[in-house]
Symmetry: C2
Amino acid sequence: MTTAEQLATRSSTPACDDGVCGAAGMTVPDSERTAAVFKALADPVRLRLYSRIAATGGETCVCDIQDVGVSQPTVSHHLRKLRDAGLIDCERRGTWVYYWAVPGALGPLASVLDAHTQLITR
Amino acid sequence: MTTAEQLATRSSTPACDDGVCGAAGMTVPDSERTAAVFKALADPVRLRLYSRIAATGGETCVCDIQDVGVSQPTVSHHLRKLRDAGLIDCERRGTWVYYWAVPGALGPLASVLDAHTQLITR
């Protein structure tokens, strides 16, 4: 199970809405799962790669996302980090690997941000 | 101007809604500003500190957020990172420093997540 999948499972449980447990704030397990996915998005190159893949709305050939200003091995490294976090997935077909953004993977992160925004502005 | 303030300013400009510029995805400057704020939230201890401060809905004495499982100097280090990113601010009063979550600082991040979620599910 990827980090994003764990986060989605956790967010669907009823205890502590959106991982924010009253005045105590986030629990240790929730903070660890959520921080891991934020970390995947905490690099400008990874964020541009993710954005490029998501922006297609479908599959993207790795051959079309090599122009983000870093070497091909670095692109591969960042794509692996995004995949390990459960934000993207891929499939090899012949010479090329095709990537897509995993639907729903950003939802739990958005819920955490929304829950905290509501706490701040209440 | 903090990173979160730069991000809020950028997000209010009309070009490229939410920093997602069509099929090209995020621009380099947008990805750098956004990744910097994600990075501030990409650590479990920082996330719990931020959550604890936000959960009060007001000010939190630093004396009340020392029990996150790390040493006091490490707490101070993480609070500085959150402050540098523009997510929290503080004021010293006598012996103690009081922290609060900056209203609106999470908004641009939430917009980026929402914009990409819409791209993926369209």
